[in-house]
């Protein structure tokens, strides 16, 4: 039988015809695979990620993530900016966990310079980092629902996020790119009324989490769409370098807040929620419970916040870390963010390499998407929590 080339509508990577293959298996009728580009402009890749799929009917044969549409050369740029400026730059790549990012840069610089951060600053940093985590997780809680067609959780998520952003704005002045960390401490102390509002918010959000439970976690349709979809065994997750909620959902409770505590995480009591199956539902569930844990940490910070300065008394005029290198692990909202900082005694780092969780999360898309149905692509992609800026940097 003649092999006809599948005419295309100009959506294939290299124009019509390319990437189409004809599979003739035994005596079966010949079937053609369709290549479908999801992205870079597609509603469900939240950002400019592109996934090139080869489809057998609605079943995905291969999935190749194409990244780099948002590459902003953070690593290179930080070699040309001083430490203060890097803090402002670093909160931009993963725009959903800005505070966590700048915290990492500050921690790395402090470690290299041997600066002792005041107690109060450390506690406030932890408070901010946890609120930031809640912000981030709420976003994914909402967007996952949206991708599965439930539009309301997204609006609820933004309702809650709005409250938290107002809180963050009180202290930092910004709603998204906080730039609140400084090497050695923080920009300013908390304004009056911050803690009170923070306490109110903890209660409010804890109450409103029930809405998400009612809309998504307890919903039969949602379960039907996510349970058993995109199963990621713990071993595979580890081998791909996946961290954060996705790793936890696969049953591995690796969290640098626990295993290698920074700030004051060793002094607060919290759990690392883990999943049993590593499917989409577990990932979502873990995200949900991580919010609860973060709220728990925030409550403890409220109780334990000491008085004192937020910057060390003596700070050098110019930030010039001595020659050497350091690596800082932080458990950022989406997983482990590592900062490899090499200094040659200059005011600028010689090298600042970031290990971002989203990059590793995206790297296992081919594994997760193999053999799933096209509609499940959404259930899988939505549960592989990533921020495109964090992938490309």
């Amino acid at each position: 039988m003649a092999v006809t080339e599948l005419p295309t509508a100009g959506m294939l990577p290299g124009g019509p015809g390319e990437g189409v293959q004809v599979v003739i298996a035994g005596e079966e009728l010949p079937t053609q695979e369709m290549t479908l580009s999801i992205g870079p402009q597609h509603p469900s890749t939240h950002g400019v990620l592109r996934v090139v799929l080869t489809l057998d009917g609605e079943r995905i044969d291969t999935a190749t993530p194409v990244i780099g549409y948002m590459h902003r050369a953070f690593d290179k740029l930080s070699e040309a900016r001083d430490y203060r400026q890097i803090i402002a730059l670093s909160n931009r790549h993963d725009w959903l966990s800005a505070f966590g990012n700048e915290l990492g840069v500050a921690l790395a610089t402090e470690r290299l310079m041997g600066i002792e951060v005041p107690e109060r600053a450390q506690w406030i940093r932890m408070l901010m980092a946890e609120w930031n985590r809640v912000l981030n997780h709420l976003m994914f809680l909402g967007s996952f629902g949206l991708e599965l067609g439930a539009m309301t959780p997204m609006f609820y998520a933004f309702r809650e996020r709005e409250d938290i952003q107002t809180l963050m704005e009180m202290a930092t002045g910004a709603r998204m790119h906080f730039t609140y960390c400084r090497v050695g401490g923080l920009k300013e102390d908390l304004p009056k009324g911050f803690l009170q509002y923070s306490e109110v918010l903890v209660k409010r959000i804890r109450h409103r989490l029930l809405d998400y439970e009612g809309l998504l976690l307890g919903n039969e349709i949602f379960k039907k769409r996510t349970v058993g979809i995109g199963v990621l065994p713990g071993e595979v997750a580890k081998s791909y370098g996946v961290t954060g909620p996705i790793l936890h959902a696969s049953g591995v409770a690796e969290d640098s807040r626990k295993t290698e505590p920074y700030l004051k995480y060793s002094e607060v009591d919290f759990d690392v929620p883990v999943g049993n199956h590593g499917d989409s539902f577990d990932r979502f569930n873990v995200l949900f419970h991580r919010i609860e844990q973060s709220l728990k940490i925030i409550e403890q910070v409220h109780a334990k916040l000491p008085a004192g300065p937020i910057m060390p008394g003596k700070m050098p005029k110019y930030l010039k870390p001595p020659e050497g290198w350091t690596y800082v692990r932080t458990e950022n909202s989406l997983g482990e963010t590592g900062y490899y900082l090499v200094s040659r005694g200059d005011t600028k780092p010689w090298r600042l390499k970031m290990r971002t969780p989203s990059f590793h999360n995206v790297s296992m898309i081919p594994y997760l998407l193999k053999g799933v149905l096209l509609p499940d692509l959404i259930a899988v992609l939505g549960s592989v929590f990533f921020v495109v800026g964090d992938v490309d940097r």
Binding site: A9, G10, M11, M34, L36, H42, P43, S44, E58, G145, L146, E147, L148, G149, A150, M151, T152, F155, Y156, R159, L215, L216, N219, I221, F222, K224, R225, L373, L374, P375, D376, L377, I378, G382
Partner: protein, 341 residues
């Protein structure tokens, strides 16, 4: 006596009814669209449109319509031009025809139509096979959907259209089965007759399962959430409507909302007692009908606000494994009851 002469002229009455049906066809979906804007918004803790027309954005849908008319009508270069442009009409015409047969009230008491008593009332046309007409005509829309999806020369459109067709084929069956059980119980295929037959009790009460099947199947036919896979925006952009702009896109949307109104109306006539009210019998029948249509349409909106969408194969499974067997058993039971009592 000029009115008497006017209404005894069948052509005048026909023209009047046609005009009324057309106006209802144009305004009801707009009103429903507005209710959806506001209802969805409030369910999501928002306010929805507030600017157009000043008072709570009442003119938002009109503004949208004007916008659709003004926008450029783009036909993709690779598209099959004629079919692409024809598709929205194929979708909207059957939907508009359904409005012809929706009965809003009982037959007029003093009727002077030449066809005899019972031939005129609050409806456009009383077909002998009304329910059959509705089911047949609403099945045509899917051809327009397939045309749009295929002619757009876009893979997402094609997938959407195929999903839409698969969904329609699967759900046409439970829909017809659920409706035919009602026809059996009422002993007539005429929508007016079915409405009349519910004077004693609404058909929803003896057979609630049938009603649920009808509503689920209607939702699937309309591709409304949680069965909106043909236009699942996070998967396939907007299905068969992806490439459409301007008034043609507007026609698709209009047909969607008109479809909600018409299928709600049919469900009301079949199950919810049509124009028969309760507690307050002095409220006229047409108002009852409209109120019930509104309530059912609101349910459709409410579902959209609440549920994620199912997967296409789960939908098919639901149709073939549950809805169709239940509907068949239902027909059997209805038959037995009909014969025994």
């Amino acid at each position: 006596m000029i009115f008497y002469h006017f209404f005894s002229n069948p052509w005048a009455v026909f023209a009047l009814k046609l005009a009324a049906v057309f106006i209802f066809f144009l305004t009801a979906p707009l009103f429903l669209g507005y209710v959806e804007h506001k209802g969805l918004a409030h369910m999501q803790s928002r306010l929805g449109p507030m600017e157009a027309g000043k008072f709570h954005g009442w003119a938002q849908l009109i503004a949208d319509g004007v916008k659709f008319i003004q926008k450029e009508d783009i036909v993709p270069d690779a598209a099959d031009r004629r079919i692409f442009m024809l598709a929205p009409m194929i979708v909207i015409i059957p939907v508009s025809l359904v409005f012809l047969v929706i009965p809003f009230g009982p037959a007029a008491v003093s009727c002077h139509a030449p066809a005899g008593a019972g031939a005129c009332g609050f409806w456009g046309e009383n077909f002998d096979v009304g329910i059959f007409f509705v089911l047949a005509i609403s099945a045509i829309s899917v051809i327009g959907m397939l045309m749009a999806g295929w002619a757009s020369a876009n893979k997402f459109s094609l997938i959407g259209a195929i999903r839409g067709a698969a969904q329609l084929i699967a759900y046409e069956l439970p829909l017809v089965l659920a409706a035919s059980a009602v026809a059996m119980q009422a002993g007539t295929l005429s929508l007016v007759g079915i409405g009349d037959a519910q004077k004693a009790y609404w058909f929803v009460f003896p057979q609630i399962a049938r009603f649920i099947i009808f509503v689920i199947a209607s939702l699937a036919e309309l591709s409304r959430p949680p069965f909106d896979m043909p236009i699942a925006d996070s998967e396939i952009i907007f299905g068969h409507m992806t490439e459409y702009t301007g008034i043609r896109f507007g026609l698709f949307l209009l047909s969607e909302y008109a479809g909600i109104v018409s299928l709600s109306a049919i469900a009301v006539v079949l199950y919810l007692g049509a124009w028969h009210g309760f507690f307050v019998p002095w409220i006229p029948g047409p108002i009852w009908t409209l109120a019930k249509i509104g309530a059912l349409s609101f349910l459709v909106i409410w579902l959209r606000a609440t549920y994620p969408r199912l997967r296409e194969d789960q939908l098919q499974k639901m149709a073939w494994k549950y809805l169709i067997p239940i509907a068949l058993v239902n027909i059997l039971l209805t038959m037995i009851f009909k014969v025994v009592f």
